[in-house]
């Protein structure tokens, strides 16, 4: 048997074992605690078969009372879902009947009416307690979990209608009037005052809390609706106007409060090695740094990029090497005599003193090949190297001619 089955088994056994106490509570309205029944009453209370009536007494729970009424087809049957306000009318009628029986000295009738009034008061009290607490739980836990807007609206309407019923019931109780009509019957006065009237502020406060919550929900509901419409409308607008950008509100003379938001700050702090208070902590941190870590192994580069210096840089003029000056003079010499063949060695012989003939020829050859000057034609004078098909040739002179 599962857990629920075990619970049901225990309940039925308790009902069977203590049927005498239950029927006493049903017919007499209350059963009082004594040494013999104390344990059984506690068990029945735990099983919600009985509820506290007074310090020493227990009464039958409203729901079980209704079940028994139904089962016995009692004329006391009341539907729980009927308008609670009609219960109050019944209560007032029963009080009138009790008072008539009392004044006519019909003891048995008055006892029966009292028992009926008692049951009615308990039923009413239980119903208000159950309904207000149940609605409170529903509102607190379930409403927020509903996902669709339609469901949220439906639930909101349901809760409001249920709340209205309860408020109507409490409003029609008129506690002062009820207490006034029973002020000569102390027993009735105590019953109404202790079991019903005294509890009304608790129910009213609970209903007020529920109402406050529903108002918040209603407000949120409207906001959710508006937000959803705004998001969908904006998305549509942006698809139609992909280049749209909001106005430059941050450039307004008076920046609207909504855009007043700070630019994020960045924090950086350094440990103070002179602070002996944190010496131990710093040592611990230093120990944790791996010696082979990339940060330590990385070569520190001195970045000079974007460095701005206010000192004027010292400029140094570099001289052109002598051989290049002499080469320049040779080329000028060739240009000044267009069509004339000028031998590099002859020119060296005449104007260049410090350069060996081989080096001079190499410089002239290199310069002519590098500059690719089409105006000056280069002609090599060479002799055979002596080795067949070596690909090498020995240059004995270079003749430059400036083409006309």
């Amino acid at each position: 048997m599962n857990q629920a089955g075990t619970g049901l088994d225990r309940l039925f056994k308790a009902l069977a074992n203590h049927y005498d106490l239950i029927s006493e509570a049903y017919f007499k309205g209350v059963v009082y605690k004594n040494k013999q029944n104390e344990r059984a009453l506690n068990q029945l209370r735990q099983l919600k078969v009985l509820v506290k009536h007074s310090e020493e007494g227990y009464r039958i729970s409203g729901r079980l009372s209704h079940f028994i009424d139904n089962a016995l087809s009692s004329d006391r049957v009341r539907r729980l879902d009927t308008d609670l306000a009609s219960w109050i009318d019944t209560l007032e009628q029963q009080i009138g009947l009790y008072q008539d029986a009392w004044s006519d000295n019909r003891q048995e009738d008055s006892d029966n009416y009292y028992a009926e009034i008692e049951r009615l008061v308990f039923d009413l009290s239980d119903t208000l307690e159950e309904n207000t607490s149940y609605l409170s739980v529903l509102v607190n836990s379930r409403f927020a979990n509903v996902r669709t807007l339609a469901e949220k609206q439906k639930q909101n309407t349901f809760y409001i209608s249920r709340l209205e019923k309860l408020v109507n019931a409490i409003s029609s109780l008129q506690p002062e009037f009820l207490l006034e009509i029973v002020e000569d019957q102390q027993i009735l006065y105590d019953l109404l005052e202790q079991q019903l009237i005294r509890l009304l502020p608790v129910y009213q406060q609970r209903l007020q809390d529920i109402l406050d919550k529903l108002k918040v929900f209603l407000f949120e509901l409207r906001q959710i609706e508006a937000q959803a419409q705004r998001v969908q409308g904006f998305a549509f607008f942006l698809r139609q106007n992909p280049a749209y950008q909001p106005q430059e509100w941050s450039e307004s003379d008076l920046i609207p409060e909504i855009w007043n938001q700070i630019k994020p700050l960045q924090f950086q702090a350094y440990a103070d090695p002179m602070d002996h208070g944190i010496e131990e902590s710093l040592i611990e941190i230093a120990k944790k740094i791996k010696t082979e870590s990339e940060a330590l192994l990385a070569k520190q580069k001195k970045r000079r990029l974007n460095e701005v210096s206010i000192n004027q840089q010292v400029k140094k003029k570099l001289d052109i090497p002598l051989y290049r000056k002499q080469l320049k003079a040779y080329v000028l010499f060739v240009r000044r005599a267009p069509g004339k063949q000028v031998s590099a060695l002859a020119y060296r012989q005449a104007f260049v003193q410090d350069v060996l003939p081989e080096i001079w020829l190499a410089c002239v050859l290199n310069e002519c090949l590098r500059q690719k000057n089409k105006a000056i034609k280069m002609e090599l004078r060479s002799v055979s190297h002596g080795v067949a098909f070596s690909g090498n040739q020995k240059v004995t002179d270079i003749i430059l001619t400036c083409q006309v």
């Binding site: 609206q153 209603l218 959710i224 419409q229 942006l238 994020p264």
Partner: protein, 208 residues
């Protein structure tokens, strides 16, 4: 807690129930909020909150030229975020098949969204279209990669908070409340033609 809370505010973060629950609870207490505000005032800032009190943030006490320059930068960032965030909110309504827009506290499951988008080509195309926005371009065109990118950027911008790294569950933060507020402001002040539809008049009568 006070120290880290003030630092977060100065770093431009929105403090909400999702991003920093204890900090948010702390700021909901009037005395604590005054304490934080007092400190911020000494630095030229003050404590501000969103319209529905779902998030706290720091703003300037007085808008001088420096503050104006800073606000300009923040506003430029909002301009960057506007199109993609609106598109994301609209797309999430379609993905989750709900008539309500996301609200702070709502959860988004990466795997669930992936499942929905992969089964719906129109949604997959919408996801792909995010590439036209700055910061959203990616070399990988797969739905998974695109969705990762989308949620990652929204997380970076502070609209989402990754609450479960293993299952990739995100939660919408209170910054969205600020975004809705900004959207409302723009709509009202720039007369953006947005069809609001017919609002049902739900009458809440006095019950007592």
């Amino acid at each position: 807690m006070f120290e880290s809370l003030v630092k977060s505010l100065l770093q431009g973060q929105f403090i909400c129930e999702i991003s920093d629950e204890s900090g948010f609870v702390f700021l909901q207490n009037t005395d604590s909020a005054q304490q934080v505000d007092k400190l911020l005032n000494q630095l030229g800032y003050r404590l501000a909150k969103t319209q529905n009190n779902l998030a706290f943030y720091a703003s300037y006490q007085e808008i001088n030229s420096q503050a104006r320059a800073d606000i300009r930068k923040i506003f430029q960032q909002f301009r960057i975020e506007l199109h993609p965030v609106v598109e994301w909110l609209d797309m999430m309504m379609a993905c989750l098949n709900q008539e309500t827009a996301l609200s702070p506290g709502d959860t988004l499951s990466f795997s669930l969204l992936l499942q929905v988008i992969e089964k719906n080509q129109a949604l997959a195309d919408r996801l792909l279209s995010f590439a036209k926005f700055k910061d959203f371009s990616s070399s990988d065109d797969s739905v998974k990669s695109r969705l990762e990118k989308l949620l990652g950027i929204l997380n970076k911008w502070g609209y989402l908070n990754l609450v479960n790294r293993d299952l990739l569950i995100y939660q919408v933060t209170g910054k969205l409340d600020y975004f809705y507020q900004a959207l409302q402001f723009i709509q009202e002040h720039e007369q953006i033609p947005i069809e609001q539809g017919e609002e049902e008049d739900v009458v809440q009568g006095s019950l007592f």
